[in-house]
Each structure stands twice: as C-alpha cells, then as structure tokens.
C-alpha cells in the first residue's frame, strides 16, 4: 500500500495541497496501521458471521448480524466514519488518496459492513454539495460522525439502469414535500445500528417534465427532527422487506415504502428537477468506491489463497517420484493462479489509488490547467476503475476458490464467500455494460477523443524507460498502439453507426483497464528498479515488485491485441443474428 501511495501516487505532493497540510507523510503510516487494527481485529472476525446469519427482517424492522452494532460503535468512536469530510462539520479532512487505502481495508475485511459507511459518505457528499444551510445544520454533523447513517434511493421496480422512469411522487406542502412511492435495493435502508437514518431520495414533483430532467432530490429522515435538534416522530417511510441475495448477506438490502399513510415528509436538496445532475457529482465517487470493493475482495481472496497454498500438502515436484510431499504452492499451475491474482491485485490497487490522487488534485491543485487535466483523468478513469476493477475482482475471487480445490467449494473454508460477495460489484452503481457505455459515449465520443488521447500520450511518456524492463520492452508499445487504434476506429465509426461503439464498448473498457494496468505496473517496476540501484535495503520486496510486473507484462498485457481485434474486426458480429434466431 505504502509503495503505491509514495511511488506511484505522489503522496507527499498530495499532502502538501492547499487545505490538507494537517496531515504529514509519517502520519499516514500511523493511520494505515491503526485502520489495519480495526479491520483485522473488529471487522474481519465478523465477516463470516455476517454471511451465515445475515441481516434479518423481524417484526417490521431490520436486525443486523450479531456483533455488527458493537463494531459500528467502535468504528464511529474511532473517528473512521468522518475521514474525508470537512472539518466544519467535525470531519478529519484527509485526502481521498489516504481514505481510499483505508476503505480498501474495510472492504477486504468485511465488505457487507463497509457498505454502511460508504453509503453514508455518498449521502453526506450530496447534502454537503447541494443542501441548504438549514438542512446542513440539522443533519450534516451527525451524519459525518456516523451517529446517523445515510442511504441513496434511486432504483424503483421499473426504473433500474434507466432512471428516467422514476415515478415516486413529491407533493409540495409548506416548507416541505410529501413523498409517495416505492424504492428498492436500498442498502442499509433500515437497520438497528443508529437511532436515525437519512434517506436521499429521487422523486418527481407534480408538474415536473418527463424523463431525467424532471427528477428532484429529497432528504427524508426515518425520524423527523424537532426544532431543538432532538428526535421527533416516525416519518411515513417503512422497510417492507429485505432481499435474499447471492452475497453480502450481512448488508440489509431493503424495499422502502414511502407514504403508505399521509405521505413521507421530505425536504428538497438543491434545485427542483436537477436531482439527477446533483447525483452525478457523487456518482464518480460512488463508482470509484465500488472499484475499491473489487480491489478489497480480491486482496482478501488472494491472501487466503496464499495461506492455503502454503499449507496444503499434496503431491511431489514435477518429475520427482519419491521423497517428501510438498505444499501446493510449489506446483506451477497453482503458482500461475497466484501470480495472476497477485499481479492484477497490484494493478488494480495502483489504478484505484491513482484515481484518488487525481481526484484530490482536481479539487485542490493551485494550478488551473493541472486541475483541469486531473479532472479529465478522473472522468475518463471512473468507468474503467469501476468496470475493470470489479470484473477483475470477480476473476480473482474465482481463482481464489480454484486454488483451494475441493475445499474452495465448501462454504466453511471462506473462499466461496468472497466469490459470492464480489458478484454484486459488477452490477450495482451501474453495471459493467453501463460503465462501458459511459466510457465510449460520454468519455470518448463526446469530446472527440481529447481526454483519451491525452491519457494515451501520458502513458507513452515512459516508453523510452521501459526498454530497461525486458518483458515490457516486448509488449508495452504494442499495447498502446492497440489502444490508439481501437480509439481511432471508434472515433471514426462512432459518428456514423451508433450500434458499433455500443457493441465494442465492453472490450474497449477492458482494453483500457489492461493498458492502464500495464502502464502502472511498468511504473511500479521502474520505481523498484531505481530503489534497487540506490541501496540493498528491502531488496527482496523490490525485486518481487519487478517480477510481479514482468508477469503482468507477459501474461496480461498481450491481451490488448485480441481486444483490439475484437473491437475493430468483431463488433459487426455482435448484432449479426436476428432476435428471432435466438
């Protein structure tokens, strides 16, 4: 973690950005250390309990798994909920880069738990950016501290990926609105961890235009707040059931019913009809956060696979017929899986942290041009981080099961849970298909390839130095050529045939993921190389970095050629069959 923060993400300069100087690099180590203790001593031991017992719906309320409440108290008392928030509302004001490393630990140790503070964070961002002073004064400090949690209410049964179909009604009544409708898939929509829950809800006012331009954002508390700030009456919003899911059993996924009686009281956040635009500001953060989940689960699955592979004794070395049996980590095919897991986890981590570093700089860098470039990078990387890191996270969790062999298929081992928990990450907060569409439509075609070309040029900067890395020297430039060719082709066909870019989008997202991963792994190898020439300290660590990057260059990076082919020569084939032929 610290290697990526320091060598690839320029931690020192991030901490020196205006408004962040409270934090110094040596404190970051202490923060990660203490977060690590909470993750491994408090959250990790509950992960399996959460999976087995799950959140339960009893007598109209949600009960979280045993131990959850105590862990949550520990978590908020430690100040971990407020890590990135403004000091004005009691936050710690740490950069996203540091928060991302900490979040990786929450998700690696217990993703089902980590979702609760993650959703609160989104709700806080929404309120902080768009809420009126009065709303902020009433709600923000308690949400920052974690005394109250927050939720995001977008989806309705008929409005999933297509939010234009949202039909929850909000009727004005004095200084507030009355909401009626049903929201589904609400993570931590109800629970027993805190005395109040603050819902951020998308709904339509009576005379709002159709489609996405008629959606507004409302704050709806579970319990209304009295003038003096104390908890008042129960609002007319109720959890009517929770879902039975493939994974993240500890996290309650709720169906919320608004306005079964007199209508749930809600307060407008931001402007009427601008709800979706307000949401989009947080969308980048939320999508990145899901990318962090993909990384966290992958890291956990990898660690567990390594431990098992070192312990499990089976067979003898290839070509040896007698003597001691060996642990399976000595077998080449097991090693292949572990290397594949390790190198992609490292690539994901570098990418996820890079995004966070770009996010911090886009918000705080003193130079305007630099801020703009970092913002472009954030926009371009968001669907890649979300799409690639969650797809790859699933692949790694799958390999984690495979390393365990038969034991991996047995729930007791725990490897299967990671696979089930990871499965949601490619779906919620916009499926991989939605991310791929966002990448091609909004991030590539809309600006005529400007950001994509800048990024590719940035990645080309290290071409001369990768010549010193044998495995990268063979494939690095080719990979960037594949990316440039695919980009050029999409820009060319994009204006004439809208079906082709859509058909190519998934492969294009993967191509970006693999290429950006290759860029960062090459940089990591170069940084390690430089360290090794300086001194012998930690030589094992740095040479492992180089070997891991070389594996990526030899096994992952060459797939760009196939992806380019799929995009340029294969996109026609996607829609070739008529619907009746299926």
């Amino acid at each position: 973690m610290e290697f990526v923060l320091n060598e690839l993400c320029d931690l020192e300069n991030i901490l020196a950005l205006p408004g962040l100087q409270e934090m110094t690099p040596d404190l970051v180590g202490a923060v990660l250390e203490e977060a690590g203790k909470v993750a491994s001593d408090v959250l990790a031991p509950l992960n399996r309990q959460g999976d087995i017992q799950g959140a339960r719906f009893i007598d109209g309320t949600v009960v979280t798994p045993d131990g959850w409440k105590n862990a949550y108290l520990n978590f908020i008392e430690g100040g971990w909920n407020s890590i990135t928030f403004s000091e004005d509302y009691g936050g710690q004001n740490l950069p996203y880069l540091v928060a991302t490393a900490v979040q990786e630990m929450w998700h690696a140790s217990n993703m089902a738990f980590g979702l609760c503070p993650m959703l609160t964070q989104s709700a806080v961002e929404a309120l902080f950016l768009h809420g009126s002073e009065e709303l902020k004064k009433t709600y923000l400090a308690k949400m920052v501290s974690g005394e109250w949690t927050g939720t995001m209410n977008l989806t309705e049964p008929q409005a999933g990926s297509d939010l234009s179909a949202v039909s929850t009604r909000a009727e004005p009544e004095g200084d507030h609105y009355r909401l009626h409708g049903q929201k589904i898939y609400i993570t931590y929509g109800d629970h027993d961890l805190t005395e109040n829950i603050i819902h951020m809800v998308l709904a339509r006012t009576p005379d709002a235009p159709d489609g996405v331009k008629g959606i507004s954002l409302f704050l709806v508390p579970k319990f209304l707040i009295k003038q003096d700030g104390s908890i008042g009456e129960r609002n007319d919003v109720r959890c009517v059931s929770i879902e039975h899911k493939l994974g993240i059993h500890g996290s309650p996924t709720c169906v919320l019913s608004y306005g079964d009686n007199e209508g749930a009281i809600g307060y407008l956040v931001g402007e009427e009809n601008r709800g979706l635009a307000h949401m989009f500001v947080m969308m980048n953060l939320a999508r990145h956060a899901v990318g962090v989940e993909g990384l966290g689960i992958a890291e956990r699955a990898y660690q567990q696979a390594v431990i098992y592979a070192k312990e499990r004794i089976q067979g003898r070395p290839a070509g040896v017929k007698s003597g001691d049996r060996i642990s399976i980590i000595h077998h080449a095919d097991v090693r292949r899986m572990l290397m594949s897991m390790k190198c992609e986890v490292e690539a994901m981590r570098a990418m996820v942290y890079l995004w966070a570093s770009a996010f911090d700089q886009s918000a705080r860098h003193p130079d305007r041009t630099e801020r703009q470039w970092q913002q472009q990078m954030v926009e371009l990387l968001t669907p890649i981080v979300k799409g690639w890191c969650t797809e790859t996270g699933n692949k790694i969790a799958y390999l984690g099961v495979q390393v365990h062999g038969g034991m991996g298929f047995i729930e007791e081992t725990g490897a299967a849970q990671h696979m089930r928990d990871a499965r949601i990450t490619t779906i919620y907060e916009g499926t991989t298909g939605i991310q791929a569409g966002d990448l091609v439509g909004r991030k590539l075609l809309r600006d005529g390839g400007a950001a994509a070309n800048l990024m590719t040029a940035k990645m080309r900067e290290i071409e001369p130095s990768v010549q010193s890395l044998p495995e990268f020297q063979k494939v690095y430039s080719k990979a960037l050529d594949d990316l440039a060719q695919a980009t050029g082709w999409l820009l060319q066909v994009g204006t004439t045939n809208p079906q082709l870019p859509a058909a190519a989008s998934f492969s294009y997202l993967e191509l970006w993921g693999v290429a950006v991963g290759g860029w960062l792994m090459a940089r990591s190898a170069l940084a390690a190389q430089a360290k090794l020439t300086q001194s012998h300290a930690e030589a094992d660590f740095y040479s492992a970095k180089i070997k891991t990057a070389s594996y990526y260059a030899a096994h992952v990076l060459p797939t760009t050629a196939a992806l380019r082919h799929r995009i340029i020569d294969g996109s026609d084939e996607v829609m070739a069959l008529a619907v009746e032929d299926f």
């Binding site: 040596d26 923060v31 520990n74 300290a537």
Partner: protein
C-alpha cells in the same frame, strides 16, 4: 501522581520470526514492528488511572533505535502525555534497561512505573524486577487487577496456583499480565493530536551509564522439529520409554 510506562518496539506478534542465517539473532529487517503487547496493556492501564482521576501525567519511555519514536507516538495516540526516547543502535539487555529507567525515574519522579511483564521478543521477564530492586521500591508482578486506595496499591497477581492479592506501599513498580485489561483502539483524530505531543530524544551515551551486556548470545536457532510418533506394543514398553528415553517419570 505521575506514571512512567516503559515500552519496547518488538517484532509484531503476527509475524512468524525467522532466525538470521548467521544465527546471531532473529531477522528484523523488513519485518513489521509494533509495541510489545504487554506494554500496550501497561499504557492502557495508565490511561485508565488517568481517566479515573488518579494520575495526572503519563510519560512513556522507549530505549532503542530512532524508529522507536513511531512506537512512542502510538502510545501518545492512545492517550499518554509525553514521550522520551533513549536512542541507541546497540542491543540493550534487561539490566541496562533497568539502569536507564532508574535514571529517568530519578529525573521525572513518578510514583508508579507500569511495565509489561516481559517483551515477546526475548521473553526475559526481568526488567521490572531489576528496576524495583535498583530503586528500592516495592514490586508487584503479573498484575491482573490494580486498585489504588489510601496511598497503597492493591494488586491481584496471576501466579501458578491461581490468583494472589497483595498490598504494596508506594512508590511501586508493577508489571502487567494479559488479563489486566484490553487495550483500546486508537482514534483517528488522536493520531493527529499525538504528533503535537512532546517527544524528547536523549542519546544513550550521554547518560554516562554502564550499559554493557552481561550476557553473551552464542547462537540463536530454530526449535527442533517434532519427530514423528511411534506405536508401542505394551504398557510396559511405554513406561520404559517414558522413564529411560523421555526421562519424564
């Protein structure tokens, strides 16, 4: 009342230690280091006494390399008030540690020293006892419960036969056992605050104490591997083996 808490930076308890190839000790390069767990309990106990209003100031002391400052910062983030590092690159053995601590006790005049009963790296279990002897103070080792009343210390000790309760005069040296308390998690804002707390660094040589090693380490090696078990044919054979081979009866 002032409390002094000595803390040691050791190889983290989660790390599987490896013997150095030259058998001169265990590998500490590139190994995660952290506060000795018994010392964490000592810091926690001091903070609880402070929170209860019994103690005014908590001073943590570490002896060792410059990186021990990180360990001291952890104790400060837990709640200790200030830190002292007696800096040296040399290996310091219990007697030397006790002498240095005696020097600091005379300088800072605490009424109570709470130390871990032993450090998990060398498991000596000597420093607290030696310090008490050098100071001529009372000592209470392996504490699982500690209460202050009427200027005396009521202490429950974990002994082989069970629990022993003793009453000690003050000032006193107490060493902690595992069950004394459960150390707290550090709060994020306190990590920031700890940075601003005073931490004094004193070079060990400047103290003019005799810190030379009295014990020479000849060799460090892995414990022997357990040999595979055998089946015995009769009770007689078992007894014979227990008597003559294992020599346990």
């Amino acid at each position: 009342m002032k409390i002094l808490v000595p803390i040691k930076r050791v190889v983290d308890y989660n790390v599987k230690v490896r013997v150095k190839s030259d058998q001169s000790g265990v590998e500490t390069a590139n190994v995660k280091m952290s506060m000795n767990p018994f010392d964490e309990i000592a810091v926690e106990e001091a903070i609880r006494l402070q929170e209860a209003g019994t103690a005014e100031e908590i001073i943590v002391v570490s002896i060792g390399v410059s990186q021990c400052q990180e360990t001291i910062r952890t104790a400060l983030a837990m709640g200790a008030d200030r830190g002292i590092l007696v800096e040296t690159d040399q290996q310091v053995q219990p007697l030397a540690v006790a002498k240095i601590l005696k020097h600091l006790v005379e300088k800072e005049s605490p009424q109570l020293v709470i130390a871990g009963k032993q450090a998990i790296d060398d498991d000596n279990n000597q420093t607290g006892q030696m310090l008490a002897a050098l100071l001529g103070w009372s000592q209470g080792t392996f504490a699982s419960r500690l209460q202050l009343a009427d200027g005396r210390l009521k202490l429950t000790r974990e002994v082989d036969g069970g629990l022993e309760t003793v009453s000690l005069s003050m000032p006193s040296v107490v060493t902690t056992d595992l069950r004394l308390n459960e150390p707290r998690f550090v709060k994020l804002p306190n990590i920031m605050k700890a940075k601003k707390k005073p931490l004094e660094v004193i070079p060990m040589d400047s103290l003019g104490l005799d810190t030379a090693s009295r014990v020479k380490i000849l060799k460090v090696e892995d414990p022997p591997h357990r040999a595979a078990g055998i089946k015995v044919a009769s009770v007689e054979e078992l007894i014979d083996k227990l008597k003559n081979e294992a020599k346990v009866i």
